[in-house]
Subunit: 473 residues, 2 copies
Amino acid sequence: MPERTGLDAFFAPRSVAVVGATTNELKGGYSIIANMLESFTGPVYPVNPGRDEVLGVKCYPSVRDLAGKVDAAIVFVPAASVPAVLEDCAAAGVKAAVLESGGFAEVGEEGKRIDAACREIAARTGLRLWGPNCTGLVNTDPFIFTPFMRAPNANERLKPGTLGIIAQSGMLAAGFMLQYVISGFFTVSKACAIGNKIDVNEVEVLQYMAADPKTKAVVAYLESIVDGPAFLEVARDMAGRKPLAVLKGGRYEESAKAALSHTASLAGSDEVVEGALRQAGAIRVDDFNELMNLGKAFSLHPEPFELSSPSGDGVAVITVTGGGGVVLTDLLRSAGMRVPALTQKTLESLQGVFPDWMAPSNPVDIWPAIEQKGLAAFGDSMKAVLADDRVDGVVLLPFASRMLDFFPFDEIGEAVRSSGKPVVSWVFGDIRYFEALEERLREYGIPVYNDLHSCVLVLKSYLSFSRQAREKA
Amino acid sequence: MPERTGLDAFFAPRSVAVVGATTNELKGGYSIIANMLESFTGPVYPVNPGRDEVLGVKCYPSVRDLAGKVDAAIVFVPAASVPAVLEDCAAAGVKAAVLESGGFAEVGEEGKRIDAACREIAARTGLRLWGPNCTGLVNTDPFIFTPFMRAPNANERLKPGTLGIIAQSGMLAAGFMLQYVISGFFTVSKACAIGNKIDVNEVEVLQYMAADPKTKAVVAYLESIVDGPAFLEVARDMAGRKPLAVLKGGRYEESAKAALSHTASLAGSDEVVEGALRQAGAIRVDDFNELMNLGKAFSLHPEPFELSSPSGDGVAVITVTGGGGVVLTDLLRSAGMRVPALTQKTLESLQGVFPDWMAPSNPVDIWPAIEQKGLAAFGDSMKAVLADDRVDGVVLLPFASRMLDFFPFDEIGEAVRSSGKPVVSWVFGDIRYFEALEERLREYGIPVYNDLHSCVLVLKSYLSFSRQAREKA
């Protein structure tokens, strides 16, 4: 048996061949070669027997013509042609092949035969395979971008970050990449669409990210887990060290069947998965936006926070809307967190900014204080609450409006930073001020969401990750 | 006992006095008079003993000076002065007073005494009271806008719609008004912040909306329900006729306490409220954005839909992303809906647009069909699925990108319209195309959301409301 190389050949190849490169702009083979020529720093070789040149670059009939020159190949040709291409790759000394084409096990018997042929080649030659039926991978440092969607100047637009993304779905990975990365929702370290995973699977990718110093947190969408015990072992290792959030699709008969036809995945028993993931310390979610919201939170702050209460789940709410405080308290309690009474010292500090007729409590309803003392009351209340030992984290409910011009962002930000406690914020009000609010709070590591559920999910995840770190320490 | 007039004097007064009108732009009394002078079609009278003129209009020292001239008064003066103002109002023949000031029962003993004095005046004179401690109300036809937030040209910006909003929280009502109405999220018929409701309460407002031909659906945020049986009677009457969604805050001890200090509300047992609301046919939600998402859905389509299956809960999914279909199916099943197998006839129609190697099923994963036949496959699949008797509603998962220029919106829209079935859509992908997708689908009554949870909540609510209508028919 040949030695299997690790994933470095995928994430950091020195040179890449693009098999199926074309000048037809409607085809994925065009997007791949155009993206790679534009954004990859090493040599990129188009391969296509029908062309002499692609985008001004010499095109080779076969990977065999590039013997010894290529670390990785991106393969985008019909499934039936893939085994022959892989033989070429192995013969030419290629270490890693990213298979993006569909038409494998997910489409039936003929696809399964092709699938088996590819596996056999990998086992015999040591060539590592990624996919098929996926958009491949993105690494921001060093830069490589394999998806078959055109992304002009990808290397300039995708700034290096600390978040790792794993998605067992090509369209989703590509869609989210566009939606969240382009909109500045978060920056990523590595984004991986693993498809049918006939060789490289979620366990190996997760192990790689768990060890990768550039990746500090991981969010994963999976339709199956090929090796449960190994996956849980990585998850346990990451607990308290690198946050891991998982969306696992295929809970019901109907959806498990859909997962099977989508990526040839056997979904496995949901109860077992749920329990095991929770026990291993991973965060389980059930919608993509929850996964992305956690991605935003952990890309802003992947380290554990300091916890001050013994149970590490005490939350204070500072709100301009009494109703928001009431509903948020319901949601925090439903999610198993506490909204504790504040200490006498904190209440006394708050009374200093509150009107005489109003006794402060938690949630801290500061609108009357703002009416009396102006927006400085927000900063003073924040400081008082963050200093309270019963408070492990805070949710802010400010109001987006012209008022934000007078909002004590720096004061609040510095108080948050020096407290070492997690703070998340809701935004509501005048949408013209949403972006400004979000940008200013993000500077201080405070993620902003426009629904209370997301605030609760994020704070709960921050705190439970921090408790894991405390238990391990 | 004097006869109590109904709420018409609030929603459609012929003339209005603004007590506490001022030219100080930092005060609520300025915003109210400026808004009213600009947007109200009848006479508006500023009242303030300290001024001769406000914004170029003669100002009166007391409402008594306007005897017989005023239907409604908006009162924004310190709580302690309110009882005297109400005596003036009653003496001058005013029928309805909107009290926006805070400082009543929510702040303690002195406030409670003022509160009691106001109630006594109302009982003795028949003057109806709205609030206090709220932003009052908005009616879009005829137009009246009482909130103490400045909203220039409110009458031009707030187009008449069919949705009624009730919120027991001033900041929230004002915030959401700004956020959702200004961003075109929905249009409203009436928006009511009812505050401490010392006289007019949520039951009476809901009764009014239930009878109001201009209001076709209602969303309500409540911290207490003063008369449970009466509220449930209206809810039962609305079931299947006008959709009603309720967010009821104050489930836990901590939040119930916050509700008490916020609007002097006793929240009541949550289990009782939950069960009773469900039994009466109302939709219960637990976050503001859920309430607003339902508002968007029901403002687009407040009538019941035609149901074709016996159980009325069969959902088809049409998706460009297999992973999206898997997770959506999980969420639909978790929410108690079915994702049924399609009829043989439907499967045969779908096979006409699907590649030979791919057997169609539900969820309908149409990416391979699009690759083969172009975006027309989306329209053909939609028609086939809508014609299926097992399908009561559809969730679409399209991909926002340049592709939308070729998307068969009209074909899909016409198919949806003629089917009479509810369709909701998710949007993901390139955010630059989100607005275009949403606008085009909205033309055909398809609401769009950027998370799957919202799609599931809305479709579930559409279908359960439609089942209520079928049961009542």
